[in-house]
């Protein structure tokens, strides 16, 4: 009944994202799964920023004003790509998919283990994915934050066809990516459909699994990547947020995807990854207020990588900094500038009250309570499955194993996120939401934003190509393969 509407709803952003990624990575051939999966996130963010632009210009939110210019934009990118394609040969960032592993001659028992392993993992994934889709599309919008903020705003934007009421809505200073894409969904569906507006979330889940799997497959091999995905979905919090219309799922999507793309840039040297990471970072700042703090964290991660980059000249390092900083900070600042200068919100006593830093010596009494609240949530409650137990075991392995930059960076990222929230709990009134009486309403949702880094670290640390000899493929290397040698292969 709604098939053509849904095709437009999902198809246009994905095509747009795909075209943009092809443009950014022109001259390179990316893994299809990675490109397709990331296309969804890129496209949805583009739709949201375009709607923001329309809203600022006081133009109506109609299918025509949103879809037609973007379709034209898509056509222009298509033409550029077509023109570029005929001029240059594309370099692959992956070895041939047929490259066999030298020692992959399997006996019957190995074959049995291989089949059992994949059947278990795929069944687990398929069952939970079916559940996610059923749940998301059969249960209406019902959760607290959705009803009081994000879905309410989207509903108001949809019926008013504008964001003129934004300053009158509750929590007007909150960023708008999720309300905008829900409005887009409703516009495509032609009505405010209480169940189908949530279709964005299970597809976001599929897209995120795709990015994570592709990332892990590049870093390890198919079997370990599959294991990583299985660990990711043991978290009930991760699954349930793919079915309700909270903003935390997309906050996690953009934050963790940005970090994965940053690591892919490190591995490949291709600036397209850096640009995509930067775009995802900026998009994250348009999902929740926390996103602005995450921009700074991801910027620190980038700085660490850029400053320690071997073989890169100072000019190249500066250029990398421009590539990362400009898009992410420009996107982040655009909404803040709009809030302060055009919307002229009076934030005193509202959102700032929760984050105003006040430190007194008596706050030190909070330290054990904060540590206990974090440990209890990570290890004893049911939100994360056994992911944090696996993290603890992986830390033991990490201590005794040769360390890679990827592992170090993931650990640093986790450390920075935990440190940020430790100090937020210590020095602000958000203590109550993170470690105080109402911590059950806030802490787990905050931890969700960077939870996927845990399975990534576990897999990268435990990876042993001979322990699960299940992959037919070699561990992937990012050496560009080019028929015509090109001096500018690594654009670091």
């Amino acid at each position: 009944m709604y098939i053509d509407n849904i095709l437009l709803l999902l198809g246009l952003p994905t095509l747009l994202g795909y075209a943009l990624l092809l443009l950014v990575f022109r001259g390179y051939q990316l893994p299809l799964l990675l490109t397709l999966s990331a296309s969804y996130g890129v496209g949805m963010a583009v739709i949201a920023f375009w709607m923001f632009f329309l809203g600022v210009c006081q133009m109506p939110f109609e299918l025509g004003t949103i879809a037609l210019p973007l379709a034209g934009f898509l056509l222009v990118i298509g033409m550029i790509l077509f023109w570029q394609r005929s001029k240059n040969e594309r370099r692959t960032l992956m070895p041939s998919a047929d490259a066999p592993m030298k020692e992959a001659k399997r006996d019957k028992l190995s074959h049995f283990i291989v089949i059992t392993f994949y059947v278990l993992i795929l069944s687990y994934l398929a069952l939970n994915t079916c559940h996610i889709f059923w749940r998301a599309l059969n249960m209406p919008v019902y959760t607290w934050d959705a009803i009081s903020t994000s879905a309410l705003r989207a509903k108001v934007f949809f019926y008013d066809r504008s964001m003129k009421e934004l300053s009158n809505l509750p929590h007007a200073s909150y960023p708008l990516l999720v309300p905008f894409i829900k409005t887009w969904a409703a516009l495509c569906l032609g009505e405010w459909h209480e169940r189908l507006v949530k279709i964005l979330f299970p597809f976001g889940y599929i897209s995120f699994l795709g990015i994570t799997f592709a990332f892990l497959k590049i870093m390890t091999n198919r079997a370990w990547a599959a294991l990583g995905i299985a660990i990711l979905i043991t978290s009930n919090m991760f699954l349930i947020h793919a079915t309700i219309s909270y903003q935390d799922f997309f906050m996690m999507y953009y934050t963790c995807s940005a970090i994965m793309f940053l690591l892919l840039w490190l591995k490949s040297g291709c600036r397209g990854f850096l640009l995509t990471a930067s775009f995802f970072t900026g998009a994250g700042s348009f999902v929740k207020l926390e996103g602005s703090a995450y921009v700074l964290i991801i910027f620190v991660l980038f700085l660490v990588l850029d400053l320690t980059l071997k073989g890169a000249t100072r000019r190249e390092k500066w250029l990398n900094a421009v590539f990362f900083t400009l898009p992410s900070f420009a996107l982040m600042l655009s909404y803040h500038a709009y809030k302060f200068f055009i919307l002229a919100l009076d934030l005193e006593g509202t959102e700032t009250a929760k984050t105003a830093v006040t430190f007194e010596l008596s706050h030190l009494e909070r330290v054990p309570k904060i540590i206990y609240a974090f440990l209890e949530n990570m290890f004893l409650l049911g939100s994360w499955g056994v992911a944090y137990m696996l993290l603890a075991l992986s830390l033991v392995i990490y201590a005794f194993k040769k360390k890679s930059t990827e592992q170090n960076l993931l650990l640093l990222a986790l450390g920075l996120f935990f440190t940020l929230y430790f100090f937020v709990a210590l020095c602000t009134a958000s203590y109550e939401w993170l470690a105080g009486k109402v911590r059950m309403a806030g802490l787990a949702r905050i931890l969700l934003h960077f939870y996927p880094l845990v399975p990534l670290f576990v897999i990268l640390t435990s990876y042993d190509p001979f322990l699960i000899p299940l992959s037919k493929k070699k561990p992937v290397s990012f050496t560009p393969v080019d028929k015509k040698p090109n001096k500018k292969k690594h654009r670091r």
């Binding site: 006996d107 028992l109 559940h131 309700i244 004893l380 409650l381 056994v386 787990a444 042993d464 322990l467």
Partner: protein, 256 residues
């Protein structure tokens, strides 16, 4: 400290034997945990089915785990994994490694095999409870219309907002009269639900332009006393805890 053990390829028999060994040790550790908690294994399985967390529609901020015999179930699981690791390491290093010098197993590999086995054990157990959740959700929601599904979660605030919205021809501005403190739960939640489901017919979260021609009564005792003479009830729920009145002069303009 780095592990300088070279990465040896392990044959599939060793992998299978390792996985079986760890599974058996883990089963033993689980039985030991049952004994400690004072349950027989079958009884404990039944208790677990009831008490381990599962995806429930009202758990979206956190997944609480019920305790069993005063112990968090996950801490019991960690004990099992810890015991398995310790025993597994002991068996591998003392009994197996000396007899299989061509298949050296490092500490890292033992830990990795142990966590993979523990992970499959946990994920399998957890999936049983996810099936339970799926089953109960299907019973609650499948085959119902969207309003019925919302009603099964939200109850009377939704029913009232839904019926009122259907009764109104166009948008109506209202005064709110409340008999309770709506800044505290559960009334704050109820009022937000009303605001969401009333929109766009009635805007409760922010003011719109136009004359105020209606009054919304929220949990006002003996509500009929407060309805002005020039107003009539446009819709109300059965116990009259929620009532919407509209000016009689504008009745035909707003109400079907």
């Amino acid at each position: 400290m780095e592990d300088n053990t070279p990465l040896y390829k392990i044959d599939s028999k060793t992998i299978l034997a390792g996985a079986l060994l760890f599974s058996l040790v883990m089963l033993w550790a689980w039985l030991f945990a049952c004994y400690q908690l004072g349950y027989n294994p079958l009884e404990l399985l039944g208790q677990l089915r009831e008490r381990i967390y599962k995806i429930e529609y009202n758990n979206f901020n956190e997944f609480p785990v019920k305790k069993l015999a005063g112990v968090y179930l996950l801490s019991a699981f960690y004990q099992v994994v810890g015991t398995t690791l310790f025993l597994g390491l002991f068996i591998v290093t003392i009994f197996i490694n000396p007899f299989r010098p061509t298949q050296p197993i490092s500490l890292n590999r033992v830990i990795t095999i142990a966590w993979i086995v523990a992970f499959f054990f946990f994920a399998g157990l957890q999936q049983l409870h996810r099936f339970d959740a799926f089953d109960s959700e299907i019973h609650q929601f499948a085959g119902k219309t969207t309003p019925k599904r919302i009603e099964s979660i939200m109850g009377k605030p939704f029913t009232f907002a839904y019926n009122c919205s259907r009764a109104l021809k166009k948008g109506l501005r209202v005064y709110k009269r409340s008999g309770v403190d709506v800044s505290k739960d559960p009334h704050m939640t109820y009022l937000r639900n009303l605001a969401y489901y009333f929109y766009p017919k009635i805007s409760l979260r922010f003011e719109k332009e136009g004359p105020v021609d209606g009054i919304l009564y929220y949990l006002v005792d003996d509500v009929d006393k407060f309805i002005p003479e020039d107003h009539a009830v446009a819709c109300a729920n059965e116990d009259r805890s929620f009532v919407l009145s509209v000016s009689k002069d504008k009745w035909n303009e707003y109400v079907y």
